[in-house]
């Protein structure tokens, strides 16, 4: 990319050294004078009415400053306008083990913890619902009074004429897939520090400042204002460094509001940092999904219709649930050309921690089902799995049957790349005993075209200010959460202004200082905040160009900005032979030495010299400031109306200005005696439009594959009567480095017409392909089709035994005979598999049992 001097270069993250040396500060590193520690009392029951809370014994404990309960902030809130069903602290009912009941603010953590044990809460325990299919039958003891049958929301979409297409199909595949529940497991536990300025005249709490580990500072500001009954202008939210979010910090998490309520009551700053167990209770991860999927194809492999029924076990609150269930349907489209779609989605409430948004929000589990089924179809039709995918490509630019506009589309190249690099044609089916290759594709939005707050305001706004010495300050609301948004912002500003990266300072995510940005989620930041940065930089650049043009005696359009110089188009004078290298010449011309800007004499001297053939960046800036006064610019971004989707109910979710594409090939081997699966290598091609920072794109691809592999093989939340049995990083098994495969990231650049420099998203889309790629590779290796994730050794072994007619292992043999008839166990149905109420005829547990029995 010789056209660029910063874009496309492998650039270290601008905050890398701070993080790696420990100098960087995360929320929990912060302290304020007089700061108290807050601890939250959680419900031990999955569903209960609170009859009485008596905190007098706790209050009497020395060192306890304040105790707050639901009454102290009774206003409801929720991330979605349609889902204001949460209270920071329970008002009348608790709805999951871990729900928030009270908070103690004390002078030390130990005292706060001891005080929790002295709070007496009287509960009236209610019947609870743990299985979504059971919960949907509920008539009484509803989790939320206004949600009949515990259904948060259901959608029923029909596009085209699926019935007809199924009737005319050459082959119809049908199956039930289950993806068990997973959570983000970000390295940094949630943490919030809240402080009120105490009005020195009235002694009352005045302005509030909140430091929090959040992906969405502006939503937090808004919800705080709702719950605390304060104007937003009185609330400042600052996001320090964040140690990963993956969606787990993309909405307002109870501690963020509780800390503020406690700080108001205590009239002192309060910090709350979740324990790891509390992080698991706060959750908002990917729901257990039961997917009944039916696909119609013609003999040549062309997909003619898809029918999906999805039931998501959403947990006790709405959270992002309505959006999740809509994404699951909407993103059936925009990857392949599917002319007829029927979708029935049910978001169901259960008495467990709320699910929410998680990397690949809404698409991952359905993609696992779809890509697995497509593989089954290919086997059935005797088609190469890569080929069947090629036969169903979209022909962009186009609008899909469910209203999604697709412009740039790198999927064909992604497939080609992974097929070539993995030597698919030569090696598929040839790897020998119990080893195999599998392919799968996926895609994701580059931000939602319609924001969840349904307004016409821009989704991102960015301001830029340039000082006399050529220092560029970019003010953006975009939240750096480790994904690299600050680096991206600096790169785009520097590239546009033709200045070096070191000149750019990014001030981000401080609601007092930075203009509004709706946050870091749905992979929107590069596309939207990136475009806003580009526009702001162009606006300032225009001002500099007009001043520089006067100095250089040319038209403003002919002024070129590059590598800290400003010169006339076609004039070679300005071009340094080795761009970016800080050669002696470049240093003296730019006046920039090791991060310092030389002022004064040099500038002054050149300023007096009359007409110029080129200007240094600073000279141009000085000329512009002299000419225009202050040098500032602003830019914002709102997705174009054409990209905002159809008119049907729920059409708002799914549309995006651009989609990323991914194709992956996984190579695995299976131990046929133990069922253990080893992933040896994953080739992952991702179309990110343009790679603004290739090293960052590769990092995101590798991270996505790795996280997908965790969900495919190891990660699973295990429940017993609503109690999470593995609420820690020892028992909740995210992969360790030893079993992480080699990942070969392959960047595909389709250059999107609307993305900043053509860029699209790169941080979520790859995840969804990994799970089915592994499932398909297992099928290639040992001929078993896994319908339930994760593919733990016991599930794999059970399927192997069933297939071979070998002695089946009875997974329920040792089950306690006194176990209740009601199906209480799931999250993998680890213990009481096959017990309980009738399972769906296509339930994988049944199917395996049936197969196993038949072969015996």
């Amino acid at each position: 990319m010789s056209d660029f001097s910063i874009i496309g270069k492998r650039t270290a993250m601008v905050d890398a050294a701070g993080k790696t040396t420990g100098a960087g500060k995360y929320t929990d590193d912060l302290t304020l004078p007089g700061m108290l520690i807050g601890k939250i009392l959680h419900s031990p029951f999955p569903h209960a009415r609170i009859k009485r809370i008596d905190s007098s014994r706790a209050r009497a404990l020395e060192g306890v400053v304040a105790i707050v309960t639901g009454k102290d902030a009774p206003n409801p809130y929720g991330i979605l306008p349609v889902g204001h069903d949460e209270h920071a602290l329970a008002l009348d009912k608790v709805r999951y083990v871990g729900d928030n009941v009270a908070c103690v603010a004390a002078i030390s953590e130990a005292i706060a913890e001891n005080a929790l044990e002295l709070i007496d809460v009287e509960y009236e325990v209610l019947p609870a619902y743990f299985d979504p299919e059971e919960s949907m039958k509920a008539e009484t003891d509803l989790i939320h009074e206004n949600k009949l049958h515990n259904i948060e929301k259901d959608y029923h979409h029909v596009f085209g004429d699926p019935e007809k297409a199924f009737g005319e199909a050459d082959y119809v595949a049908e199956g039930r897939f289950i993806a068990n529940e997973v959570t983000h497991a970000a390295m940094e536990p949630h943490s919030t520090l809240a402080a009120f300025e105490i009005d020195s005249h009235t002694g009352k709490p005045g302005r509030l400042t909140v430091w929090s580990s959040t992906q969405v500072p502006y939503y937090l500001q808004h919800k705080l204002s709702l719950v605390l009954d304060m104007p937003m202008a009185q609330i400042r939210v600052i996001k320090p460094l964040v140690g990963g979010g993956f969606g787990g910090k993309s909405e307002v998490i109870p501690l963020e509001i509780i800390a503020a309520i406690a700080a108001r009551a205590a009239k002192a700053p309060v910090k709350i940092t979740y324990t790891r167990e509390e992080v698991f209770w706060a959750h908002r991860g990917r729901p257990r999904s039961i997917i009944d999927l039916k696909t119609a194809v013609k003999k040549d492999g062309a997909i003619t219709a898809v029918k999906a029924r999805v039931v998501q076990d959403g947990g006790a609150y709405c959270s992002y649930g309505v959006v999740t269930i809509l994404y699951s349907g909407a993103l059936l489209g925009a990857l392949y050309d599917i002319p007829n779609i029927q979708y029935d989605g049910y978001r169901v409430l259960t008495n467990k921690p709320a699910c929410g948004a998680m990397r690949g929000h809404g698409t991952v589990n359905v993609r696992f089902a779809f890509e697995s089924q497509l593989d089954e179809i290919a086997a059935r039709l005797n088609l190469d799995p890569a080929e069947i995918r090629r036969r169903n490509l979209l022909k962009p630019p186009c609008v899909t049957i469910n209203g999604l506009r697709v412009q740039s589309y790198g999927l064909p190249e992604c497939i080609q790349q992974v097929v070539e690099r993995s030597r698919w044609k030569q090696r598929k089916g040839q790897l020998g005993k119990a080893s195999g290759l599998g392919i799968a594709c996926s895609h994701y939005v580059s931000g939602a075209a319609n924001s969840i707050i349904r307004s016409d305001m821009p989704h991102s706004t960015v301001n830029i200010k340039i000082d006399r010495d050529g220092g560029v300050v970019v003010y953006t609301g975009a939240s750096e959460i480790g994904q690299g948004s600050d680096t991206m912002t600096a790169q785009i500003a520097a590239e546009t202004l033709g200045c070096s990266l070191g000149r750019v300072k990014v001030v981000a995510a401080d609601t007092d200082l930075t203009p509004i940005d709706i946050g870091s989620y749905s992979s929107r930041v590069t596309f939207m905040a990136g475009n806003a940065t580009l526009r702001a930089a162009e606006q300032v650049k225009k001002q500099i160009a007009s001043a520089a043009a006067r100095k250089m005696n040319c038209a403003p359009e002919d002024v070129v900005f590059r590598e800290d110089k400003v010169f006339r188009k076609g004039d070679t004078q300005g071009q340094s032979p080795t761009p970016l290298e800080p050669t002696q010449a470049a240093v003296s011309v730019s006046g920039r030495v090791e991060g310092q800007i030389l002022r004064g004499s040099l500038q002054q001297k050149r300023k007096e010299e009359g007409q110029k053939y080129f200007l240094t960046f600073e000279e141009a800036v000085v000329a512009a400031i002299d000419f225009h006064g202050a040098l500032t610019g602003t830019g914002s971004y709102a997705p174009p109306p054409e990209a905002r989707g159809g008119k049907h109910k729920g059409a708002g979710v799914g549309p995006s200005p651009a989609y990323s594409y991914s194709a992956q090939v996984a190579e695995v081997s299976v131990d046929e005696d133990t069922g253990e699966v080893t992933v040896h290598k994953v080739w992952a091609a991702h179309d990110c439009g343009r790679a603004l920072n290739p090293v960052s794109v590769e990092g995101q691809i590798i991270g996505s594959v790795w996280m997908g592999m965790g969900q495919a093989l190891e990660e699973e939340m295990v429940w017993k009567d609503g109690m999470l049995m593995n609420p820690g990083l020892l028992e909740y098994r995210s992969p360790s480095s030893t079993e992480s495969p080699e990942v070969e990231p392959i960047i595909v650049e389709s250059v999107d017409p609307e993305g900043p420099f053509g860029a699209k998203e790169c941080s979520e889309g790859s995840l969804a392909a990994t799970i089915p790629a592994i499932a398909n590779a297992i099928y290639d290796a040992v001929g078993i089709r896994l319908h339930e994730s994760p593919f733990t050794p016991e599930r794999v072994l059970a399927a192997l035994r069933a297939r071979k007619g070998a002695k089946p292992i009875n997974l329920t043999e040792g089950v306690d005979p006194t176990a209740p008839r009601r199906f209480r166990e799931h999250g993998g149905a680890l213990w009481f598999r096959g017990k309980g109420p009738e399972r769906h005829p296509l339930d994988p547990a049944r199917r395996e049992a049936a197969d196993a029995g038949g072969d015996d």
Binding site: T674, R733, T738, E794, L811
Partner: protein, 315 residues
């Protein structure tokens, strides 16, 4: 969770240590590497008034060769894993040590702590083990089934290791196999005023082929979900002597008593290895945990035993 408050005692000799132990018996916990004790205390499994930090008792560190091999209780798992001497003469122990937790935890964790490892560890609601009256894994029973999940004890059992226990009354020495009770909440025969000081490996156990196989989901960090240790000596292609022990599937690590007779004097083939596997699987009583069903884990005892026996017999 914050660490509960306690007084830290730091003796530098065994005598001093056992004096503290008898002084505060019942209200004191020994801290060796701390990798098990500290998380347990944070989870409020114990809230002792005193913590006895024995890390400064120099004489309890290191491996000494003599008529028998003496391993100080404070010897780190990393040292055991990398000891050239142990790798050559007692390979099953070095291998078992190398599978514990992760490299960082092995740097801190000691062999004494591994032997004394507390059964079960998670505070997801109260059970018999801690304050409660209900067993999550075997509902309806009143016996505690908390599982023992240490990696090195099955290897040590195969090697017929003995341990030395010190108290203010002096030293006693018992075979390791008599140390464990098989009952989850009182899993070891160690009085409140006693300290495990040394582990002895008899010379007669040297130079056995040894294999340790561990079931876990991740390649690192995870406790064993099942573990099998085998030692075996051959002469003329036949088994001269063999021992087999399992871990993580019972409230104690267990020697499979009938295994030696089954193997002795035989040439090991797949059928024999399978028969030994069946035997081991019968002894295993795995119970519910948050990962992998008990049936699967028992099945893996069978598979791993077969594999370990074959590997030990045939290289």
């Amino acid at each position: 969770m914050s660490l509960p408050e306690f007084r830290l005692l730091r003796p530098s000799t065994v005598e001093e240590a056992v004096r503290y132990l008898s002084q505060h018996a019942g209200n004191i916990r020994v801290l060796a590497g701390g990798t098990d004790l500290i998380p347990s205390m944070r989870q409020r499994l114990f809230e002792p008034e005193y913590v006895l930090d024995i890390r400064h008792i120099g004489e309890l560190k290191g491996i000494r060769q003599g008529a028998e091999v003496e391993i100080g209780a404070l010897t780190s798992l990393t040292v055991i894993e990398h000891s050239e001497f142990l790798r050559r003469h007692y390979p099953v122990l070095a291998e078992a040590a190398s599978t514990v937790a992760s490299p960082l935890l092995r740097n801190m964790g000691t062999i004494g702590g591994n032997i004394c490892l507390v059964t079960w560890r998670k505070g997801c609601g109260f059970c018999i083990k801690k304050d409660g009256d209900l067993c999550h894994v075997a509902p309806g029973g009143s016996k505690c089934w908390a599982v023992f999940s240490g990696d090195t004890p099955p290897a040590l059992l195969c090697l017929d290791a003995h341990i030395e226990i010190a108290s203010s009354a002096g030293l006693r020495r018992i075979p390791l196999r008599e140390f464990y009770t098989g009952i989850g909440d009182s899993y070891r025969r160690l009085e409140a005023n006693e300290l495990v000081t040394r582990i002895f490996l008899p010379a007669a156990s040297a130079d056995y082929r040894g294999i340790y196989r561990k079931l876990r989901i991740r390649g690192s960090i995870d406790y064993p979900l099942a573990g099998v240790a085998v030692v075996l000596k051959r002469s003329n292609g036949h088994v001269k002597d063999a021992r087999l022990a399992i871990t993580a599937v019972n409230p104690a690590p267990m020697l499979i008593k009938a295994a030696p007779q089954m193997l002795e004097g035989k040439a090991v083939d797949t059928n024999l290895a399978e028969a030994v596997g069946d035997l081991a699987a019968k002894t295993a009583k795995p119970l519910t945990t948050s990962a992998l069903t008990p049936e699967y884990r028992r099945e893996m005892i069978r598979v791993f035993t077969k594999r370990a026996v074959l590997a030990a017999a045939n290289n």
